[in-house]
C-alpha cells in the first residue's frame, strides 16, 4: 500500500508496510501510482504522453521503480498480521504506571477530560502507602523489562508534592535492589511550580509536561481558578523560570486547542515568543456536544494550521532557531520496531493507571468508568477478559484500519478516543484519524525539508 502526497514542492511517496519514504519528481510521482495497478508498457506510454519525455527516459524510471519493488521498498505486502495476533497475548508484563497522585486540582478548567481532576468521583489524595504499593506492584509484575516509566499525574500532582518526592526516593531505592531503571515524568499546570519543585525535577524527572494553551486570552478562556480568574499571569513566569533552569533536560509545553482557537499556530507562536521551544499541542478531548469540541467544519482550518506549522518549523530551522513539536518528531532510522508500530501505547496491558485508592484502569482516560476497572494494586489485574481485549487491540484489530496507509504510524490510534467515539475500543474516532493522517504527512515533510537530503533532479 502506498500513499502519495505533495507539500512545499516535494512529491512524497510512503510505502506502508516497509516503512520506506521516497522523494520523487513529477514523472516518478505519476508512474509509481500508475504502476500499482497497470502494466509496465501502459505506464511508460502514459508517462511519455503526459510528461513529454522519451520512451527511454520513461523506461529507465520504470526500471528504478521495479527495482524498488524487488528490494521490498515499494508496494511491499503486509507480512505482519500474524505478529499482531500473537504478540500481545504472550507474556504481558507491566512497564509503566500513571500514578494519579491527586484527584483534585487547584484550577477549574471547564474542558478538563477528568472533570476538573475528580474523574467524576470524590476528591482524593494518594497516600505514600498506596504509592509505595503501586511501585512494588510495578516492579513485581515487570518481568524482563529493565526500563520502567512512572508518571505523576492527576488532577494536579503538585497538590501532593511531598508524596511525589517520597515516591521518587522509594523508586530510586527499589530500582537498585531489583536492577531496574525508572524514568519519572511529571505533568503540572504550573500554579505551584516554584524553585524547590524545579530543583527536584531537574534532579529526578526524565520529562516534565507543562500545561499552557498559548495566547493569554486563549489560555484564560478555560484554564481558570475557582474564582474564575485566568491562570496565565501566574503560570507563565513560573514556566519561564523553570525552563531557564531546565537546560537541556526534556520538557514539553503542552497546549490544548479547541473550537475557539482553531488558529492554534498563533498559540504556538506565542509559546515561542515566551521562550519555549519544546512544544506540544493537542485537540481537546471532550463530548462532541460541548461548545469547545472540534467540529467537522473546523477541520479544513485545522489541516491548514498543521501545514502552516510545518512551514514555520522549516523556516525557523533555516534561521538557526529550530523548535520541537512533539507530533512532528520522527526518528526515521532508529524509530520504533514493527512490534511497537503494531501494538501502540500499551494501555490496558503494559501501561496502567492507578487511582488514589490503588484501583487499576487501562489508562488515565478510563479512570472513573467502572466498566473499565481492571483490578487493584492489592489483588493485581483481575479483569482478565478486559486485559485480553486491550491486548488484542492494535493496528490490525480495527476493520477501518485495514486500508489506511497510516496505521503503522498511529498503531490503530487511541483506544480511549475510539471507545468514547464509538462505544468500543476497537472502533475508531474518525476525526482523530483525519487529524492524525494530516499530522504525520506534515511531520514527514518537515523531516525531509530539514534533513539536508538531496532532492530529485526535477521538481515544481
Amino acid at each position: 500500500m502506498i500513499h502519495c502526497y505533495q507539500f512545499e514542492g516535494l512529491n512524497i511517496v510512503l510505502d506502508c508496510y516497509s516503512g520506506s519514504i521516497h522523494m520523487v519528481d513529477e514523472v516518478a510521482y505519476d508512474m509509481i501510482q500508475w504502476y500499482e495497478n497497470e502494466l509496465a508498457d501502459k505506464v511508460v506510454q502514459k508517462a511519455v504522453e503526459k510528461h513529454g519525455i522519451s520512451v527511454e527516459e520513461a523506461s529507465e524510471c520504470l526500471a528504478d521503480i521495479a527495482d524498488l519493488k524487488t528490494a521490498g521498498k515499494l508496494y511491499a505486502p503486509d507480512k505482519y498480521e500474524h505478529l499482531a495476533k500473537d504478540f500481545r497475548k504472550k507474556n504481558i508484563k507491566i512497564k509503566a504506571l500513571c500514578l494519579h497522585v491527586a484527584h483534585t486540582c487547584n484550577l477549574n478548567c471547564s474542558y478538563c477530560f477528568a472533570s476538573q481532576g475528580k474523574y467524576h468521583g470524590e476528591r482524593a489524595i494518594m497516600s505514600y502507602e498506596v504509592g509505595k504499593k503501586a511501585i512494588d506492584f510495578l516492579i513485581e509484575n515487570s518481568g524482563f523489562h529493565k526500563n520502567l516509566d512512572i508518571d505523576f499525574f492527576g488532577g494536579e500532582p503538585l497538590m501532593n508534592w511531598d508524596v511525589v518526592k517520597q515516591l521518587v526516593a522509594y523508586g530510586r531505592e527499589q530500582e537498585k535492589i531489583h536492577n531496574k531503571n525508572i524514568r519519572f515524568t511529571l505533568t503540572t499546570n504550573g500554579v505551584l511550580l516554584d524553585d524547590e519543585v524545579t530543583e527536584f525535577c531537574n534532579k529526578e524527572m526524565h520529562n516534565v509536561v507543562l500545561s499552557l494553551d498559548g495566547r493569554k486570552e486563549v489560555n484564560d478562556r478555560f484554564r481558570v481558578d475557582y474564582a474564575g480568574h485566568g491562570s496565565y499571569d501566574k503560570i507563565v513566569p513560573n514556566f519561564q523560570k523553570f525552563v531557564e533552569k531546565r537546560g537541556n533536560l526534556s520538557y514539553y509545553m503542552r497546549g490544548t486547542f479547541t473550537h475557539f482557537n482553531t488558529d492554534f499556530v498563533n498559540d504556538i507562536k506565542q509559546m515561542l515568543d515566551l521562550g519555549f521551544t519544546e512544544l506540544s499541542m493537542e485537540p481537546v478531548v471532550t463530548d462532541p456536544s460541548s461548545p469547545s469540541a472540534i467540529t467537522k467544519e473546523d477541520l479544513p482550518v485545522v489541516f491548514e494550521q498543521y501545514e502552516e506549522l510545518a512551514r514555520l518549523m522549516v523556516q525557523r530551522h533555516k534561521e538557526g532557531r529550530p523548535f520541537t513539536f512533539y507530533h512532528y518528531m520522527l526518528d526515521l532510522t532508529c524509530g520504533p520496531c514493527i512490534y511497537k508500530r503494531i501494538a501502540g501505547c500499551g494501555s490496558g496491558t503494559e501501561y496502567l493507571a492507578v487511582t488514589p485508592w490503588g484501583d487499576l484502569y487501562p489508562c488515565h482516560q478510563f479512570v472513573g468508568d467502572d466498566a473499565y476497572k481492571m483490578g487493584s494494586i492489592y489483588e493485581g489485574v483481575k479483569n482478565l477478559e478486559l486485559q485480553d481485549k486491550f491486548a488484542s487491540c492494535n493496528a490490525y484489530s480495527r476493520p477501518e484500519c485495514k486500508d489506511c496507509w497510516a496505521k503503522l504510524y498511529c498503531s490503530g490510534g487511541c483506544a480511549a478516543n475510539s471507545y468514547h467515539a464509538s462505544g468500543d475500543i476497537n472502533g475508531i474516532y474518525e476525526m482523530g484519524c483525519d487529524i492524525f493522517r494530516k499530522r504525520i504527512e506534515c511531520a514527514i515533510a518537515v523531516k525531509l525539508l530539514t534533513s539536508g537530503l538531496e532532492q530529485p533532479g526535477e521538481k515544481k
Binding site: 506540544s280 485537540p283 507530533h327 526515521l332 514493527i338 511497537k340 490510534g413 487511541c414
Partner: protein, 48 residues
C-alpha cells in the same frame, strides 16, 4: 537524472527479527496523553 531519492528508514520487515524488546518508553507518557502515535518514539536498542 535522479527521479527517485529513497530516504534511509528503519526496515520494518527486518525489525520483526531484531525488535520486540519492549524497552522503549511508553508512548503516552511522553507528552500527549491523548492522541498518541508511536512513530515518534525512538528505539532504545538502536539509540544505545
Amino acid at each position: 537524472m535522479t527521479r527517485i531519492v529513497t530516504v534511509e528508514t528503519r526496515d520494518l520487515e527486518k525489525s520483526a527479527k531484531e525488535g520486540g524488546c519492549g524497552e522503549c518508553q511508553t508512548s503516552c507518557q511522553s507528552a500527549c496523553k491523548t492522541s498518541c502515535g508511536v512513530a515518534n518514539q525512538p528505539c532504545e536498542q538502536l539509540n544505545k
